[in-house]
Amino acid sequence: MNEMVDVLIIGSGASGAAAAWSLADTKMRILCLEQGDWMKQSDFPSNGRDWEARRYTDFDLSPNRRKGPWDYPVNDDNSPMKVANFNAVGGGTIMYTAHFPRMHPSDFRVRSLDGVADDWPIDYTTLEPFFAENDRMMGVSGLAGDPAYPPRQPPMPPLPLGKTGTRYAKAMNKLGWHWWPSESTIATTEYDGRAPCINLGHCTPGCAQGAKASTDITYWPHAIRAGVELRPRCRVREITTNEHGMASGAIYYDADGIEHFQPAEVVIMACNGIGTPRLLLNSASSRFPNGLANSSGLVGKNLMLHPWPQVFGYVDERVDGDRAPMLSLWSKEFYETDPARDFVRGYTLQFTRGTGPVNEAITSAAAGRLPRGQDHHRIYRELLYKRLQIGIACEDLPEEHNRVTLDPVLKDSNGIPAAKIDYQISENCRRMMEHGIARAEEILTAAGATNLYASRTVLNSPGHLLGTARMGNDPERSVVNARGRCHDVKNLFIVDGSIWVTSGGVNPTSTIQALALYIADSMKQRLATLFD
């Protein structure tokens, strides 16, 4: 029998790590259970000659293909977008591009401003100090002065423009459209023990240099030094409740498959937008027959995945390709709602640098650009390192039919029922996607690119899992309140992307972590009355 802890955090990724670090100064006994293991920088693909191919094996974005010892399967057959995640200490921050935009002020007020979905019960101003704290903890590179955002000051200078960024910048100036260097958690200087970026490229599947921030090398060392215990290779099966309807702890399996019970005074879920509803639904009991914290019926519903078309083109000289971080610039020209368009809300244009030799061949062959046979060599040489690539980060609005449920058949290696997702891209989003594709084509043409190609649903991308245990003031229309506490279970908190009300048109990690810090801070401010 494990000893009682004050706070049990489930999941060590973006949000769990931030919450653990923030709560550490309370001197409470805090334990984090993580189903994955610690990663080593020497594990990451850019150490070896098969570095590109490993994106299709043990560092594939999809858990269904990766099939690592700590991965759990997800039935995503009924979705045009596939699930991307990573299971390790650091969670999804091991496997992300390190793109770090914040949500915009308008993203928290979509009902008031645009008459769609719902407003969040909190706003940008409330989160602003936590955004800044998180920027400092993760180590953000960027440039102050972006007219698309309220003022902020990234602690490190931006990634260089390079040849690719220069092409984009000139094209955007020609069109008169907004652009700015992307904010990222790739260190451009030495920072909190991290070495600066040396342009290995392929940042997504882990950085061998350690320049990319993942919570195993940012928050966790600080949290562990402050007394938090992190127990890896422990997969939680269910959250238990007592006779008062309060969470009493969690049942988990260790690496040998041995079942344990971990009692806790408070439970915090940080398992992402699929893992959290899966665990809540798997925690059904006689008192909570439809799943824990699910009196609203909304656990698992309103899944948002961020449709993310990609548009490619090729210029007449070699540019940066994969010889630098993928991230370059962003544009917010089309982010805010414009009544003249046939959709509401908007998108970020994310300018990236291209790809490496193997991926150029794989993706171009799959797209029908690169033939087999004798012409293969000539055409390949016309493509290699000449690619410009723009991603369109479309705001995905919540719809209840997009959802996570439990698969009746599929189970993980511990026999725990797996998640199933049902998801469709909305008409509003499809119109937004087409608008973005047309603008991206204009930009690429202005940058001198030809041979344009648009991919509307990129498999396993981007892997943003949001909205399935939404935040709100009305217990009948939300799962957690404005401070992340479940309406139904007063000592159960959720800090991951599942509590998002709407998705914005940005990569979510920055806002997920700011929310986790905000929730942890509100817990600290209310310790004496936390369960009232």
Binding site: S46, N47, G48, R49, D50, W51, E52, A53, Y56, T57, R65, P105, S106, F108, R109, S112, L113, D123, Y124, T125, G145, P147, A148, Y149, P160, L161, G162, K163, A169, K170, N173, G176, H178, W179, W180, P181, I198, N199, L200, G201, A208, Q209, R323, A324, K332, Y335, E336, P357, V358, A361, I362, A365, A366, R372, G373, Q374, H376, H377, R381, L384
Partner: protein
Amino acid sequence: MLLPAEIRDLRCVAGMMVPASAEYGVPGADDPAIFADILASLDRDFDAVRAALAALAGGSFADLDDVRREAAMQALEEQGGTAPVTLMRVVVQCYYRDERVVRSLGLEPGPPFPKGRTLEQGDWSLLDPVRVRPKMWRDAPP
């Protein structure tokens, strides 16, 4: 492990996908060293490759003459699905890491770490017209 007949078929497919080229001074994907790498790297694609080979002329692809091989490949490609994509991926992911091939592209073989690369800073004055734009974000009601 693939059966000997399957290995012959896959090697034939590899050579058709990326043939040797005297013009570019590169081996084909059926080169012994590259093909050995392909065989050793099938990994999660093993079953899919085996199924794709079975779909190619019923599993006797290497025994066909050039015209029939080409027809069988075209038929597989026209069917679409994952089979042709998988075959191409298992071939090119090894072909484009072969040192001879990588050098022919003007690149230095080897993994990115620890040497890294240099990225030019660029001209940040390009940002001047954006810096002077008025604020673009919408104020939100509290």
